[in-house]
Point group: C2
Chain length 240, copies 2
DNA sequence: GCAAAAGTGTTAATCTTACACCCATGC
DNA sequence: GCATGGGTGTAAGATTAACACTTTTGC
């Protein structure tokens, strides 16, 4: 029979490999003025002077991978109960000029009108998705990948409500869907389709201060809002 | 103006973080006797004595992340033009007893009748998906996640043909879909649906050596077979 | 009363599902 | 000739897409 290695022995023999940094990068989406936005920071690396990059950080040695994007979000925006989804891990050798860094990309949906949102760093700001041409590192590819995943998810999963205030009209919701999907939708069909999903509760309240006939207000059915720690990770913990 | 850091300076200041190992784990699917199989290896760690684990390896310091699963596949099976898809990255602190290892999971589809397939290690063997209860590490969760992603992909993308020989009958194809999806399909509807996708070419050949009326043979339309380096990575390289 | 957006229903087309009989081959 | 699976079509139901008019409010 083969001699079994202890974990300790294996660790020593593989020491050379503990030589790669792991980071997370967050594509933090918000929605304002009928446009989908993403939070970016001015790159502080000479190599990318003048370019913006996604918000990210190295994963701490004592930190679960999935905790890192929540920490980044909290440190940068003050927000804690955010929606996060892991998208893809990028690991080309030369993707980072500082050394070997493999990064796991997450997208996040935040309400930019939340009272808890506070961005103190002057180099951090919201940018229209449609206006972004280049980013530092491989962050444009990461952004595009995350946007595509967002587009694939929104019709099947009630996640876009994380971008809206508690109460919203169907028109606001439709504008948001159009901004995310980048296309126009038929109003009547959209309303039927959304109502049929049974995600919404009619609040029997009306919009106020609109210069036209006010629309009804809705909210997301309670129990459907997904935010906080990722579900896949919860399963993982339970299984261990 | 803020003083910009050079990449070299940043690397030194972050040296503590280059302390996490990165691995890849491959869920290598194949199909035999009307069952979906996965390639597993007997764990050589004391902590998991008697359990099987997925095939994986640490990512080399000079190796693109996406190259690692191809290398693992090649080293373990001799196969080079395989279909691979990245699924998810798992990074709980304690997921690996040897130390801090973050792993990116891939699934792969291989034809177990390929002449190039050779598995020399006696501890490596095929296992029926349906029979697997426990695996070493968090590999059962990784397997389940990959199987779910495979199930979500198969109806929209022509990938399952990587599990079949060059020529196959519609019955063989349907059996394969049923094994992957874990459910029965109506034969007439399945045939209409597959034919409508325009993925197949009728070879005007018949099955041989079957103890019943032989079925027509088909092959995948050329140009639709996806294997080799991952497309997302190719885009990434072009953009750099 | 006019501008602006809210609200609402029907029809046609498409897609999906369920279902049963005759046919070709090996034995 | 019989057992086995191959091959095929239709009708009902569900879903999706296209499309226009009336209503309510602020000004």
């Amino acid at each position: 029979m083969l001699k079994l290695k202890t974990a300790a022995v294996e660790k020593i023999s593989h020491q050379d490999y503990f030589n790669i940094a792991v980071s997370v990068d967050c594509v933090i989406f918000s929605y304002q003025n009928k446009s989908l936005k993403v939070l970016l920071i001015k790159s502080d690396l000479e190599d990318f002077q003048g370019l913006y990059s996604l918000l990210g950080d190295l994963v701490g040695p004592e930190e679960d991978l999935e905790d890192a994007p929540y920490r980044v979000l909290y440190e940068r925006t003050g927000l804690q109960d955010v929606y996060l989804e892991q998208v893809h891990t990028f690991g080309n050798i030369n993707r980072h000029p500082s050394g070997r860094v493999i990064t796991t990309a997450y997208f996040s949906l935040v309400n930019c009108k939340s009272s808890k949102l506070q961005i103190s760093d002057n180099d951090v700001s919201w940018h229209n998705i449609a206006d972004i041409r280049r980013l530092a590192f491989d962050h444009k590819i990461i952004l595009d990948t995350c946007l595509q995943q967002l587009q694939e998810r929104v019709m099947e999963h009630p996640i876009v409500f994380n971008l809206l205030p508690e109460k919203f009209s169907l028109r606001e919701l439709q504008d948001l869907y159009e901004a995310i999907l980048g296309l126009g939708l038929d109003r009547r069909n959209f309303r039927k389709r959304i109502i049929a999903k049974d995600w919404l509760v009619d609040l029997n309240e009306m919009e106020e201060d609109v210069p036209h006939r006010p629309g009804k207000l809705y909210k997301l059915r309670s129990g459907l809002r997904k935010s906080g720690r990722l579900s896949i990770q919860v399963e993982q913990k339970l299984a261990v």
